[in-house]
C-alpha cells in the first residue's frame, strides 16, 4: 500500500445518480426546475424515501440544494445513504470504463468497500 486519499463526494454524473436511485429502489431522477418549500431550483432531482421535497443536484458544480426543515421533512440519513450509493456506483462505472474488475463488500461499520483489480502481478 502506498497512499491513502480522503475524498468529499460531489455529485456530478447523471448515470451514477440513476444507478444510485436504482440501487436504493428510488424513482428515476428528474431533470428540470424543481420546487422546494420556498424556492424553485434547476438541476437533477432525486426524491429520497420519506422526504417531502427532492434533493436537487447541480451536476456542473457538484452542489446540492434541499429543504428538509432540519430533519422534520426528511432524515439526513436518507441523503447520506444516497451519497454512499452514488459514490459506490460512480466508482464501479469508472472502473469498468478502465476495464478493471470490480468486487464489492459491505463492512461491519456500514461502509461499502469496492476493490478494483488493476492488472497482473507487479
Amino acid at each position: 500500500m502506498s497512499h491513502v486519499v480522503q475524498i468529499k463526494t460531489q455529485v456530478r454524473d447523471a448515470a451514477a445518480v440513476r444507478a444510485g436511485c436504482f440501487r436504493l429502489g428510488l424513482d428515476e431522477p428528474v431533470e428540470g426546475e424543481l420546487k422546494l418549500f420556498s424556492e424553485t431550483v434547476r438541476g437533477l432531482g432525486v426524491q429520497l424515501r420519506d422526504w417531502r421535497y427532492p434533493v436537487v443536484f447541480d451536476l456542473t458544480t457538484g452542489e446540492s440544494k434541499y429543504d428538509n426543515y432540519q430533519g422534520r421533512w426528511g432524515r439526513q440519513g436518507r441523503l447520506d445513504e444516497f451519497l454512499q450509493a452514488y459514490a459506490v456506483e460512480k466508482t464501479k462505472i469508472e472502473a469498468r470504463r478502465k476495464g478493471y474488475s470490480v468486487a464489492e463488500h459491505r463492512l461491519a461499520d456500514g461502509s461499502i468497500k469496492v476493490s478494483l483489480t488493476v492488472g497482473g502481478a507487479s
Partner: protein, 64 residues
Amino acid sequence: MKTIDVVVSPVGATRVETNGFTGDQCRQASAFLEQALGLSQNERLKADFYKTEVRDQQQAQQSS
C-alpha cells in the same frame, strides 16, 4: 497484484487506498477516481512509498 480499494462510509465520504504499486505509480493509478468522485481532502503517503523513492534515488546515484 495491483489493486485500488475504495471504501465509502455510511455518510458518503470516500477513502481511496492503492496497493501493490511502486513509488509515484499509485498516484497516477488512482487519479482518475479521485477526480471522478469529488474533492480530495488529504493524502497520506505510506511507508512503502518512501522506501521505493529512496531506493530509486540510490540506484540513480550509483548509475550516474
